[in-house]
Symmetry: C2
Subunit: 754 residues, 2 copies
């Protein structure tokens, strides 16, 4: 029978391979599932609340399971190298850096009922994943699992062998470090409950319940709940039957609560009998989870759901149409686009209800309410990308951010399911909103947004929730070391405030607030206080102005903690003033030293493609006339070194699409080098032709096209560029020009322009 | 201020002491709180669902806390010797032998909020307990706590010092071994939830939720939930703030579930400011718990609730009016009566709903639905006692038992909150129902009851849930050793079946079912198969008839496990055929040997006053003419040896009133020596005069009076007895005579009748 599946699998591959002409067919969801990319291969809709992910990070099992979720800092529900599955999780995060969600696990098993996941887990084979679909076969049970999803539901199709088959719900196992769940079996086909999630990045107070409703297509002949019992000692240990083991509660129908609980449903199955399980998710209530399930998945129509998912993905992906390039190029591009369109995801239920930001209660919205704002990552390129290609979505994301301000008094920093986790540094909501407005997306309440932005830029230390250290930042012009307990990385934090203030200044200018413009523009240049001419570095300072000593600009690479910097070293932050590069060049002693040092950053291993602070650096070569070829070359090298069609084909944690978006812009040949700056740096595009359909509700143009005539396969240098048929000599291009429907035509050669 | 309380306490004592003429004023709820009596001093209504008990059995604390609930087989929420309080539990069992309930703990504290019970616990002083009231003062916080209760609610009055005061809800700590709870803070004055209880006597599958609703009289200025976090290791341990410790969730308003959770409410209090907490209980739903609270405790009227409780108790207690006797005699008597009227308690909510027996779902009743049927204990004397004095209650208890049969298919054995825990042996529901019917209480469905009784007496091994071993018992006439895995104590179990069958025979006779009468009467004598003439003992046998060898009739005392017997040895079961004593006498070789052996049972230390199998033995002397003085003497000795006004004033576990009822009958001078037998053994009464008001709905007489003229204080021998003015020469008296309104008049002397 396993051979039978194998043939079926090959047939299926063949069937899917033949018409592989649609963008969706190029997506490989396995990209990023190794090398700490932290993406997952399971089905999810674009910006979907629910996803169904093969969960394979529990238990060390020698070569079978190398990566164990609790034995390292582990934020992945699935790792390509691992092979020991313990269920399918129904709430998941893609490309984040802390363990969270990976919860509400369903596991199909067969034979004698076994409730210990270490024992019921199984290896698998014949993995297939396409957008909205995942399948494999469990070795231990010869069960074929197929998964698909709608926005707020997951649908699983289990093809069982003949005999006693089971579906086990596990609410104890998961990626989240938060414990606690409750469930209630309503009938032989339904179980509902909630699971506490949160403590994201070990922020202890961030917890909330996720609610679920699960239905099976076939009534269970037997069912029950289970709970892991604590260890007993002494007399109690002699008497109790379940000592530090899993205790079943057959036929239990009451509420069951605990740290490590679940349920099981047993079925008498014929050979190859299919049983479906569908799971509705809500962050508001069990009732809403049931309604979401009923509304989005009234039956168990797997094929229709799978096709809907594919179609939905394809409709979004095809806004960017690519011609030419290799199959790998297309795979890398569309897989990156796919990964970029997962977060921020919707939070509201089908009835519009969602949990309020940072306070108890339920809001209601007729638009989308987005959540999972990893803004320190995404403000750099994801939101500019969405603004360009999916402005209607970016608009609603900004509306969500403004609603969060109204609900909680503050814009988000790292928002998760209505919780402000306060992860990372800076004030990234400001550039997101300013950038969005300046790009021409203005159907949101800019007055309230401005009020919110200015509040975080000016509120004093005692009350400022977003900008720790703001007092000294504003009075001294920098955040000194050893003054604030709550400031992580004085230099990095100040640099982030600088770019936020520069964005605030740009927004003020657009809104004709001249004084604000002047003040915040001035403030945005305060990084200069960190410039140490003796090292040419931005260097931490003490309150009285003295430099932090000793100081090693290379210390702090590879996420090693270092004084003054956040997830990076002085080298990696050396050029991070994207809004003021011209002055940076001057400060460093002029263009030639700037180019030398910037090149050294790459040549000497100081550039980290796997984290955000320096990802804009390759494009900075464009700031020096005649040196743009370096950007073209470097970007091309980085693309080919770090991005490829395989699980390790992302340079590191995708950071909810930020690393994927780097690839998208880089392959398009345009990169928004500074949020809030409406200019894109130009590098050599990858494809022969790219057509981006522009949203007529936001932009005057119908489509943006980028053509490239390559002299050869390895032509990576820009020999010539025409914009709208006119020769174009600059290596930057305005957003405004692009969204009017520009036609960019490149000529690329193997050798750089003389 | 502590001195101030001291004076207040003395004044209170004095105030209560002056009018101490009502029965309720003689009750000392502390009796049985030491010596493993397993009673509790906290307030409870007669047959009440809720109670509020100072919980002092957590944590070993040297001399302060000698008895720790998990370090021994511990079924007590409160122990007199202990002094370290960790809260007040709102569901409790009185006088049971396995750890259960003792849950839903509220603890008032003061000062810095501390959530670890080992740290927030406190010693206390100035304890006062009367029916419906308990008070003490916490040393650590100078908080005075006063407790009272209604049927389904507890009300606590905390008098706080000035400053930051707290009330902590703890759902993790408790006597039950079952884990798991969920809660939701609804507002700054209300929290609701459920707690899983069960696994009674380590029966793994017996679990159910108890629901609660808690309201405070003052809005909390701060509140939150908390949860004990699991241990983390490695990288996670470095990052997590709460590693194997209690984590607070400030302002948390969502559902919180887990093994070890709770909530806290903080108040700014003035000096001596009172904050009340009221707790509604339900075994059906949170909504019912809220309704019970609203209905029974709409305000926070502590004094009224306390007075109502006192009045309710007094109205019940005064059905037996005693004159004469010492203050200690009255204290012992009314305290025993008080303890007898706690279980079985009501299970239904104010709206009539209750959880069905052994299946999921809710029933509804207009009468009381009783629960906590520890029938192996209570069939011996508690139910005969209730039948005599509170027949309207006994009637509803039997109706509850019949309803359980209808719901689950079987009568109860050890029923707890709708669960059949199957604790202990035999078929004790049969004698309870037969005895009740034969005493003249007949307003229940005797046809269904008979059907239920006969089912358990005849259903074969394969399906018989109540009588394991029934196959061989019926075919061989005894249960052989090493045949059944599920039979605990072959001899004991057979003896229990014998008395059940004898009761069934008596009931059959009353219902004119002659064949059943003959068959079961014959079956009831099958204990004779265990009689081993060589030892004079009832001795375990093997399937082919051979005796169990080796055999030590003394092995098995003090609850040591022994083959063939249940919580006792061969000596303690030697005379346990109360329905067939005349034959036992014959079997043992006649009256003089019987008397000799029976006396030896006491003299040689083979009698255990602390457990049920032999508690009827002192009265068996009455079966031999001229030897009745031995019963009078022995009962008198046992009363004075084992029962007194102090925490250790019960011989052992009260077994939901069974040991207390032994005292009640013994002090009255009449003892129902065999359930189903309408005869009482007569011994010397304690009081000068006792008047028992008879319920006119059941009995023809208005009152039963027992008078005793004592020649001196130490007169314990019956010199003369008149019944209704006629000289009475027998030492047994019929139920029928008593309930016609008999007047018994004893003359007692210091020396026995010549």
């Amino acid at each position: 029978m396993r051979n039978g599946y194998g043939i079926l699998f090959l047939l299926l591959l063949f069937h899917l391979a033949v018409p592989a002409q649609e963008p969706v067919d190029f997506v490989n969801p396995f990209i990023g599932t190794s090398n700490y990319g932290a993406t997952y291969p399971g089905p999810v809709r674009p910006w979907g609340m629910a996803s169904v992910v093969p969960f394979n990070v529990a238990f060390k099992k020698g070569a079978e399971n190398q990566f164990e979720k609790d034995s390292e800092w582990h934020s992945r529900p699935y790792v390509a190298e691992n092979k020991f599955l313990t269920g399918y999780s129904h709430v998941n995060l893609s490309g984040v850096g802390c363990p969270e969600l990976g919860s509400i696990l369903l596991m199909p098993t067969h034979g004698q009922l076994e409730l210990n996941p270490e024992h019921y887990g199984s290896t698998y084979q014949d993995e297939v994943a396409t957008p909205g679909y995942y399948a494999h076969t469990l070795d231990k049970y010869s069960i074929k699992t197929e998964l698909t999803a709608t926005l707020r539901t997951g649908l699983s199709k289990y093809t069982f062998p003949q005999g006693q088959s089971h579906i086990i719900l596990n609410l104890g196992l998961g990626l989240t470090n938060e414990t606690g769940a409750a469930l209630k079996i309503l009938s032989e086909t339904e179980v509902v409950g909630h699971k506490l999630i949160g403590t994201f990045c070990y922020n202890p107070e961030d917890v909330r319940p996720v609610y679920f409703a699960i239905k099976f297509s076939k009534p269970a002949t037997n069912f029950g709940a289970w709970k892991k019992m604590p260890p007993f000692k002494g007399v109690e240990a002699e008497w109790t039957k379940y000592n530090d083991t899993i205790k079943p509660y057959p036929q239990f129908r009451y509420e069951l609560a605990g740290d490590d609980i679940g349920a099981y449903f047993s079925f008498e199955t014929e050979n190859e009998e299919v049983v479906y399980a569908k799971v509705g998710i809500s962050y508001v209530s069990i009732e809403n989870a049931r309604q979401n399930l009923q509304g989005e998945q009234p039956d168990f129509n797997f094929d229709k759901t799978r096709q809907d998912a594919r179609l939905t993905w394809n409709n979004l992906l095809k806004r960017i149409k690519v011609d030419g390039g290799s199959k790998d190029d297309k795979t890398n591009f569309y897989s990156a686009l796919y990964h970029t369109l997962i977060h921020p995801n919707i939070l509201q239920d089908a009835n519009g209800e969602y949990p309020l930001m940072e306070k108890y209660g339920t809001g209601n919205t007729s638009e989308n309410r987005y959540t999972v704002f990893s803004l320190w990552d995404t403000y750099r390129n994801v939101h500019p990308f969405l603004s360009l290609v999916y402005p209607e979505v970016q608009s609603q994301m900004v509306k969500s951010m403004i609603a969060m301000y109204k609900e909680s008094g503050w814009l988000p920093k790292w928002e998760l399911l209505g919780m402000e986790t306060s992860v990372m540094v800076g004030d990234p909501a400001t550039p997101v909103i300013a950038d969005t407005y300046l790009r021409g997306i203005r159907d949101f309440d800019i007055q309230t947004a401005y009020e919110a932005i200015k509040k975080s830029a000016t509120a004093p230390d005692s009350v400022n929730k977003l900008r720790p250290g703001i007092g000294k930042y504003r009075t001294l012009g920098y955040i000194p070391e050893n003054h604030y307990e709550n400031v992580w990385g004085t230099v990095s934090t100040s640099l982030e405030y600088n770019i936020a203030d520069w964005n605030l200044a740009q927004l003020a200018k657009a809104l004709n607030k001249k004084e604000d413009y002047r003040n915040f523009l001035k403030q945005s240049a305060s990084y200069r206080n960190y410039y140490d001419p003796s090292t040419g570095m931005l260097r931490p300072r003490m309150e009285k102005g003295e430099w932090l000593t000793p100081f090693n600009p290379k210390a702090g690479a590879n996420f090693e903690p270092v004084i003054g910097f956040v997830e990076g070293n002085a080298w990696q932050y050396r050029f991070y003033v994207p809004h003021d590069i011209k002055n940076l060049i001057k400060m460093l002693g002029g263009k030639s030293r700037f180019i030398k040092e910037l090149q050294l950053c790459f040549d000497d291993g100081n550039y980290d493609m796997a984290n955000e602070p320096d990802i804009t650096y390759p494009f900075l070569f464009n700031f020096v006339k005649g040196e743009e070829w370096r950007a073209q070359k470097m970007v091309n090298q980085l693309i080919h070194k770090h991005y490829f069609d395989g699980p390790a084909g992302l340079p590191g944690n995708d950071d909810t699409g930020t690393l994927s978006t780097w690839l998208l812009f880089s392959m398009l040949g345009i990169y928004p080098h500074c949020p809030g700056d409406m200019s894109y740096a130009i590098v050599s595009p990858t494809f022969d032709k790219v057509t981006i359909a522009l949203n007529a509700n936001y932009y005057p143009g119908k489509e943006l096209t980028i053509e490239a005539n390559k002299s050869s396969k390895n032509a990576i240098y820009i020999q010539n560029l025409e914009v709208n048929g006119q020769k174009y000599n600059r290596y930057f291009i305005d957003h405004d020009t692009l969204v009017k429907g520009a036609h960019l035509k490149f000529e690329l050669t193997e050798t750089r322009k003389p």
